[in-house]
């Protein structure tokens, strides 16, 4: 299938979400609760220290980090995992194999649509509410602002690749239900979405900082608030690109294996 046809899947996914409008306000509520819990936690612990900053980070910067690392960057990967799991479990995956398309690319196009829908209807309103009620800080500099945008693309690609690889494991396990919980456990700790890596013990920060999960939340958000200098930003970007290439190669390899392993129940 021609590459130009894939954006149609993005548009379709976006439009199909419009049919479930009550999910929007429950999504906004969920993210707001998440954010106010984080704000309350960081406000509480920052009040216990004598200075206005901890490890060079002020409370407004920490709140901005929490918004970026959580609702903005850590999009709803469960939907992707569930889609792949359901397609394998129900046998619908066979229909995709008959079509002249690359299934992982179709999933990517489709979930860009979901991501854009959530960004516009949930994340942006939540960010506006937080900005007006609590306050958010701008990027540390113009360089950090542009670097954040580049890392945002990388973050989306990394989370997509990690989830898609995990989802394809359903070809072997015949279920993706537990994988969501396992992946969540890894991301909660190692992506830096809840606690940034600079609050980790040194040895754990060294490990987590070199694993691909950190490119999903930690690096983009830390760069936005200026925790990395330009040289560190460039190094992190190169290492991130290497991880991206490795994960992309692995996804294509596992997809090639999965196609030949397909078992549809009853057929």
């Amino acid at each position: 299938m021609k590459l130009a046809a894939y954006p149609a899947f993005t548009a379709t996914a976006f439009q199909s979400r419009l049919a479930y409008r009550n999910q929007v306000w429950s999504g906004v509520f969920g993210e707001l609760v998440f954010m106010f819990a984080r704000i309350a936690i960081w406000t509480s612990v920052f009040s216990t220290v004598a200075s206005s900053s901890v490890d060079g980070v002020t409370l407004p910067q920490m709140i901005t980090y929490a918004l970026l690392a959580g609702p903005v960057l850590y999009w709803d990967y469960s939907r992707l995992l569930r889609d792949i799991g359901t397609a394998v479990k129900s046998g619908d995956i066979a229909v995709y194999l008959l079509k002249p398309l690359l299934y992982p690319a179709y999933m990517l196009a489709s979930h860009i649509g979901n991501f854009l829908f959530d960004l516009l209807t949930v994340t942006v309103p939540v960010a506006i509410i937080i900005a007006f009620t609590v306050g958010l800080v701008p990027p540390a500099s113009l360089f950090h602002g542009f670097a954040f945008l580049a890392f945002w693309f990388l973050s989306f690609a990394m989370l997509f690749l990690l989830t898609a690889i995990l989802g394809l494991a359903a070809f072997w396990l015949m279920t993706a239900d537990s994988l969501d919980w396992f992946f969540n456990s890894i991301m909660t700790l190692l992506a830096g979405g809840i606690v940034p890596l600079w609050f980790f013990p040194g040895w754990l920060a060294a490990i987590a900082g070199n694993l691909p999960f950190a490119w999903v939340s930690y690096y983009p958000a830390a760069i936005y608030i200026g925790q990395l200098d330009p040289a560190q930003v460039l190094t992190a970007f190169v290492v991130g690109l290497l991880w991206f290439a490795v994960l992309l190669g692995f996804l294509l390899w596992i997809w090639a294996r999965a196609r030949h392993r397909l078992i549809v129940q009853g057929g």
């Binding site: 998440f34 106010f36 819990a37 612990v45 220290v49 809840i194």
Partner: protein, 266 residues
Amino acid sequence: MARLHIVIPALVHAFIKSKTEYPGAMVLGWLSQFAAYGSMYTTISLILARFGTLGGWVWPEIALLLSFHLLAYSLGASLSFVQFREMEEKVRMGTMDAILVKPISPWTYIVFSGLNIGYAGHIILAIGLMVWALSQVEVTWTIQSALMFLCYLVSAAMIVAAIMTMIGATALVWVKSNHLFSIFFGFWELARYPLNIFPLPLQILMLTFAPLAFMAYVPVAATLGKPVPLLGDWAGLASLLAGPLAVLLGTLHWRHCIRNYQGAGG
């Protein structure tokens, strides 16, 4: 009316048998949920390791709060969550009608025909963490205080089951009610932290209309002898009464919705 002491074990046995048909998936489910909560608690412990306290609570106290929260939730939700999350579907597909004509209370049938053993991973983690936390916190235990602690736990589980029942019952009238579970889990998330770190309006809300403060914070604070906002010395008694009161309201709401059930077609 069928004899409950025969029917309930039979319903539970049938459901457990259906789940153990896939032992690999079941154990994987337990392990994955154990890992997910363990990871979240490790993350919270990192904050405590760096800053020392959260709202005046040190790590063993927070660990007790988290374990109480998880255990109360697991006990209450095993009786209610998945069962009542499926109420929308039951109403929409018309299978609720079939449940209503069974010679057994619909609530009893729904709850025990789906008694969720999937919470085993939650319960193992919660008990393990609670045993450790109780050995670390400074509490002088007597038979009376130990009994009170158990009663707090039962009361907290009753709150969870009652609220889930009320959300599920709402589907009988509104047809849709699963979005209310999103709101429940929002407050559920807040309920695992000390209430005093939140702004006053939120504290009031979680002690009244969304009473999940009684699910963990209030009973644990009463056990540890910590000051509880707005309730003060009444925290222990309020923790004991919150569960039965929630069950009473849940029963009234369930009966009201059953009486007004008209199916998805109106």
